[in-house]
């Protein structure tokens, strides 16, 4: 099947982009989710809502605004260009940024809900035992919130794999360089190549189902009360 080889390249790129984007989202999403769940400060719910906005915007529109920001004349783009000579537009890193922004609310909400569900008594017990606040977070809070965080993370991964609107805008659709699997699917549908599109959809589905099932199986419920 001649269409298989480029599909393989696109798949590898998609996985790379989705993994990086998910990683970034987990780091920031878990931190901010914890903040929103545990700290009381004015504008807390507002911050939550604002951070959810990437969900509300059509990805293409988001992509347009991202182009404005990280483009050569954009605030961040110009700075990167000037100090590091980096141009992000049309690179796979831009695709990572796009996917990370679009998928961010998923990790955030999952983590926040999971942290809110934990009985704070367990954290108190850990503190009295002399464990530092960060240790308590890593050894008690996070493991107990694990299923919720994982749920959000898997959604973010899935969303990153499926992202194409914002990605197309900032990373373009260059085969072998920035053309992810979902952009390839989109283009195949646009070009009327239904067979090719179906093939790509099947590849995407199989890969994602495998990843999702594996992730769920490999990380058992660490809150074994049932």
């Amino acid at each position: 099947m001649e269409s298989f080889d480029p599909a393989w390249v696109a798949l590898r790129l998609s996985l790379k982009v989705a993994c990086w984007a998910t990683l970034i989202d987990v780091v920031f999403g878990v931190a901010l989710g914890y903040l929103l769940a545990r700290k009381r400060f004015p504008g807390r719910e507002l911050l939550d809502a604002v951070l959810t906005l990437p969900m509300v915007m059509p990805p293409t529109v988001l992509g347009y605004y991202m182009l404005v920001i990280i483009g050569r004349n954009g605030i961040i783009g110009a700075w990167l260009q000037q100090h590091f000579g980096i141009n992000l537009i049309f690179t796979w890193q831009a695709a990572v940024i796009a996917a990370a922004v679009v998928a961010f609310p998923l990790v955030l909400k999952g983590a926040r809900a999971a942290f809110e569900a934990i009985d704070t008594q367990f954290e108190q017990a850990a503190r009295v035992l002399g464990v530092s606040p960060f240790g308590v977070f890593l050894r008690v809070t996070l493991p107990l919130a694990w299923r919720g965080v994982l749920g959000g993370t898997l959604l973010a991964f899935a969303r990153s794999m499926g992202e194409f609107g914002a990605t197309l805008m900032v990373a373009g659709s260059i085969p072998g360089k920035t053309q992810t699997l979902s952009i390839a699917v989109y283009e195949a549908v646009q070009a009327g190549q239904d067979d090719h599109a179906n093939l790509l959809v099947i590849i995407t589905s199989v890969v994602c189902v495998t990843v999702l099932v594996a992730a769920n199986k490999l990380t058992p419920n660490r809150n074994p009360q049932a």
Binding site: G77, I89, G172, S173, A191
Partner: protein
């Protein structure tokens, strides 16, 4: 060198073949395509996307690029033409025989590209206005955001008629009937230009020239494009 070409989505199939042919003739050069609707392509280039050649589906988008001073002076050329056609689903319940039929009450839904953002929509609107059909067609319109979406609607029989490019209709010959070629006021011509700030502008020139060479033109003709 690696040449990056941003081209209108409707050129996808033809340009991919031209790219392969070009690479065969120019050993050492590689062509990377970035296909999308024409307007976002201009936005990307203006925001610093490293593009060497831009091929647009209509003059409007190229004019925008020109106004933004993105083009290498003297490189803008028309390289292909297309024609606007009225299509209907094959075996559709509502017989559409001529352009005038679009006013019939039985023809309840007609799809065109959104004139605000899709070139083919702009051509269609102008042509229908010219033919004094716009007013009666307007309430029936389903606006597509790409010519491909319009084509899908017709091919699947969701609408009774639609306006697309001849090249698009050719992709799904077995599902749609070309009812009529619609005369457009301004000819549907595709301009190409080299981008001034392109990292491989020199090689880009070679590609732009190749598109306009007999070899390139032959491939375009194969996909239904006319001479400029």
């Amino acid at each position: 060198a690696d040449i990056t070409v941003s081209a209108a989505a409707s050129l996808t199939n033809a340009f991919k073949e031209i790219g392969t042919a070009f690479e065969k003739e120019h050993a050492g050069d590689k062509v990377q395509f970035n296909f999308a609707a024409s307007d976002p392509l201009v936005q990307q280039i203006s925001k610093g996307a490293p593009v060497d050649v831009f091929a647009s589906a209509d003059q409007d988008a190229m004019d925008k690029a020109d106004n933004l001073k993105l083009l290498a002076p003297g490189t803008r050329k028309n390289f292909a033409s297309n024609s606007l056609v009225l299509i209907a689903p094959q075996g559709g319940k509502v017989p559409v025989k001529s352009l005038a039929d679009v006013t019939q009450p039985a023809v309840a839904r007609i799809t065109i590209g959104n004139p605000a953002s899709v070139p083919v929509g702009r051509y269609t609107k102008a042509a229908l206005e010219n033919a004094k059909l716009w007013a009666s067609v307007e309430p029936k319109l389903i606006l597509g955001t790409s010519v491909r979406q319009c084509l899908d609607y017709v091919a699947r029989g969701e609408v009774d008629a639609g306006f697309v490019y001849a090249t698009d209709a050719a992709i799904v010959k077995d599902k749609v009937t070309v009812v009529a070629t619609v005369p457009t006021e301004t000819p549907v011509t595709y301009p190409i230009a080299v981008i001034a700030a392109g990292p491989q502008a020199a090689a880009g020139r070679k590609f732009a020239d190749y598109v306009q060479s007999p070899a390139g033109q032959a491939i375009l003709a194969k996909y239904g494009f006319g001479r400029p």
